[in-house]
């Protein structure tokens, strides 16, 4: 019986999952909120191990992803693209594109049925296509994070944000508020702006058909999902259907745990071959 743990240290939250023989056993998600992500990673590890009634030594491979390179107790680290691709396929085996949209950046990944990355494209360092930007705007507008999606979906006349720069986009939003644009239309406009960038990223990867699964911290924002569906039509990528999964935010951690199990097997095989 092989136990592996995946820890995804994101910019907004630390997600931890435990797998037993490639079956999902336990999960934790902790918002960082100015705490030390390394400590949260350790806390997540301890909690999932305790939930599965294991000892730390029972874990064959602890894999980190995201900003987890410096987690001292990890066996190995995998990059977000690699882990989101694998996690996306685990959550929905039909997915052939994974759109990871986190607090600080977004990326579109074209994957095959094994979770191998065939092509990818990510946003530049500008933050206006990210979850952190959306959270900041919601705070200015006095809207709770969980209200963003439902409010956006009620929009009748979305006001698109013109700039791709977070600073200028914030100025745009301030102007919209002073012009009396309804909050729902502002939020939908931001969603459309973000979705437009994501659709363009998907287009650049070269994928034209199949299921595109949203992962990362913003994956469950129904307003963003609806906007992405609209933008896929605008970009004429009608063969792609955007969707999400209730556990989409765990995709990175899941991918890390599954790749950890794969590596554990591969290393064991190499050791046995060397011994023979």
């Amino acid at each position: 019986m092989i136990h592996t743990i995946g820890i995804d240290i994101g910019s907004g939250a630390v997600k931890t999952v435990l797998f037993r023989d490639n079956a999902w056993v336990a999960k934790r998600c902790e918002r960082i909120r100015r705490r030390d992500p390394m400590e949260l990673a350790k806390q997540g590890f301890d909690e999932v191990v305790a939930e599965a009634k294991l000892k730390p030594a029972d874990v064959a491979y602890t894999a980190t992803t995201g900003e987890g390179e410096n987690v001292k107790f990890a066996t190995g680290h995998f990059y977000s693209m690699t882990t989101h691709a694998r996690g996306g396929i685990f959550l929905n085996p039909e997915a052939r594109a994974v759109v990871d949209i986190g607090a600080l950046n977004g990326r579109a990944i074209w994957v095959d049925e094994r979770g191998k990355v065939l092509s990818y494209k990510m946003t530049s360092q500008c933050a206006s296509g990210s979850g952190q930007f959306l959270e900041n705007i919601a705070r200015y507008l006095g809207v709770a994070v969980e209200e963003i999606g439902p409010l956006s979906r009620t929009s009748q006349n979305p006001e698109k944000v013109s700039s791709i720069c977070a600073v200028l986009a914030e100025t745009d939003v301030i102007n919209m508020v002073s012009r009396g644009i309804p909050t729902a239309d502002i939020l939908k406009g931001i969603h459309l702006s973000m979705a437009s960038r994501l659709a363009k990223l998907l287009k650049v990867t070269g994928i034209t058909k199949g299921l595109a699964l949203l992962t990362g911290g913003l994956a469950l924002d129904e307003g963003l999902l609806a906007a992405l569906r609209e933008e896929l039509v605008t970009e004429k990528i009608t063969g792609l259907t955007a969707t999400n999964h209730p556990d989409s935010i765990y995709a990175g951690a899941i991918g890390a745990a599954l790749w950890g199990a794969f590596r554990h097997g591969k290393l064991k095989e190499l050791q046995e071959r060397a011994a023979a």
Binding site: Y61, E69, N70, K72, F73, A74, T75, G76, H77, F78, Y79, M81, T82, K116, V117, Q125, W259, F262, R263, K266, L267, L270
Partner: protein, 388 residues
């Protein structure tokens, strides 16, 4: 000394662009002189035999702002000559009594001429190297080049350099090279115990310390690193190539390691490992140094390959002997030798089905995220999809 203390000392030497260690060495005894040298290789033994300190000058790194140096070069020239000019014009290299410019590329060759014009009171020499590996042709030429240097440095100290002095220096450098070879073997064997960021600093310390002090420091590091408790990570083993002249910032080396790679061989400060085995210290010293250069020296893009089939031979040797799983081509922007050599080396690797990735840097590169992402995904692809 423990690892932390050794590394802290090396880091302090690395960061000191006023070269206080060189100044202190000179001040310890009257009449002492220090001779700077640029990458990739100069015969240190001749400088040492004169009683002088060879000082490796590898540009200003990411610690100095280049203002005057930029005025001397076009925008499409690499950064090391600009930052070296900056070091010189800002008085940081005043402790040097001379500078040697080995044959690396046209830019460094031109820098030797500029140095002669800018620093008229200093000894300056361009060190040419053979492009023919026959002892009777290339050897004769190279011995003559070394003899010039020997005569010049003898004149500088006011007394010719004897064969006995040269042989004694060869013996000293044999010890230094052996210690560094052992360090590289140790790192390849246990890369988690001897991270490349530390090995790199240890080598950089050798640029300003006399070999008699550097060799024991290297030995002390190996012993200290071996008793350190350090976790072994599931990282990909890679050879880093292309960084033989302008050096990447330390942060870049750390980023590559952090991204999931164990660097098991590299081209940093190749001068210390240029001659690949022991040079006989009881024969004709210049002849022995020449033979070592012609027949038993490392390859780099700055060295002429006599035969087409030799291209990539050294890199393949590095990969195979160190058990590397892939190669990272990391070359300075605008480095003609490294960037022109790259496709030829990549062809050799492709034939052998050895995975590789490539990027460029400058000695003051500050944005590590894209490089980390690229090296990290490369490491992932090796770990998950390689045939081994």
């Amino acid at each position: 000394m423990n690892v932390k203390e050794i590394v802290a000392r090396c880091e302090a030497l690395f960061e000191d662009l006023r070269f206080n260690a060189v100044q202190q060495w000179k001040a310890a005894l009257p009449g002492r002189k220090a001779i700077g040298y640029m990458p990739v290789y100069v015969p240190h033994e001749i400088i040492h035999a004169a009683g002088f300190l060879p000082v490796g000058i590898f540009g200003g790194g990411d610690q100095i702002e280049v203002i005057q140096g930029d005025a001397y070069y076009q925008s499409y020239i690499c950064r090391i000559p600009r930052s070296t000019v900056e070091l010189g014009l800002s008085g940081r290299l005043d402790c040097l009594d001379g500078m040697l410019f080995p044959s690396v590329c046209d830019v460094i060759r031109n820098l030797s001429g500029m140095w002669q014009i800018m620093f008229k009171d200093k000894y300056v020499r361009y060190i040419d190297v053979p492009q023919n590996y026959d002892d009777a042709i290339g050897g004769t030429f190279y011995i003559s080049e070394m003899q010039h240097l020997r005569d010049d440095l003898g004149a500088l100290r006011g007394q010719p350099i004897t064969d006995a002095e040269l042989n004694a220096s060869i013996a000293v450098y044999n010890e230094n090279r052996k210690a560094i070879r052992d360090l590289y073997s140790y790192r390849a064997q246990k890369p988690w115990q001897a991270p490349t960021s530390e090995v790199y600093l240890l080598l950089r310390a050798g640029c300003v310390l006399p070999p008699e002090e550097h060799t024991p420091l290297v030995r002390a590091y190996i012993a200290a690193a071996d008793v350190e408790k350090r976790a072994r990570r599931d990282n990909a083993r890679v050879v880093m190539t292309g960084s033989f002249c302008e050096q990447p910032p330390l942060g870049l080396i750390k980023s590559i390691e952090m991204s999931g790679c164990y660097v098991v061989d590299d081209e940093f400060m190749l001068a210390f490992r240029w001659l690949m085995d022991e040079v006989p210290a009881d024969g004709n010293p210049l002849e022995e140094l020449s033979k070592a250069f012609l027949h038993r020296s490392a390859q780099s893009a700055s060295k002429y390959d006599d035969k087409k089939e030799d291209k990539g031979r050294y890199l393949l040797h590095q990969v195979k002997s160190r058990g590397a799983e892939g190669v990272i081509f990391a070359a300075p922007s605008f480095c003609d030798p490294a960037l022109l050599e790259r496709p030829m080396l990549q062809e050799v690797l492709a034939k052998q089905k050895i995975p590789y990735t490539a990027f460029k840097y400058a000695e003051n590169t500050g944005q590590m995220a894209p490089i980390r992402e690229q090296a990290g995904t490369f490491a992932d692809s090796i770990k998950l999809w390689s045939a081994a």
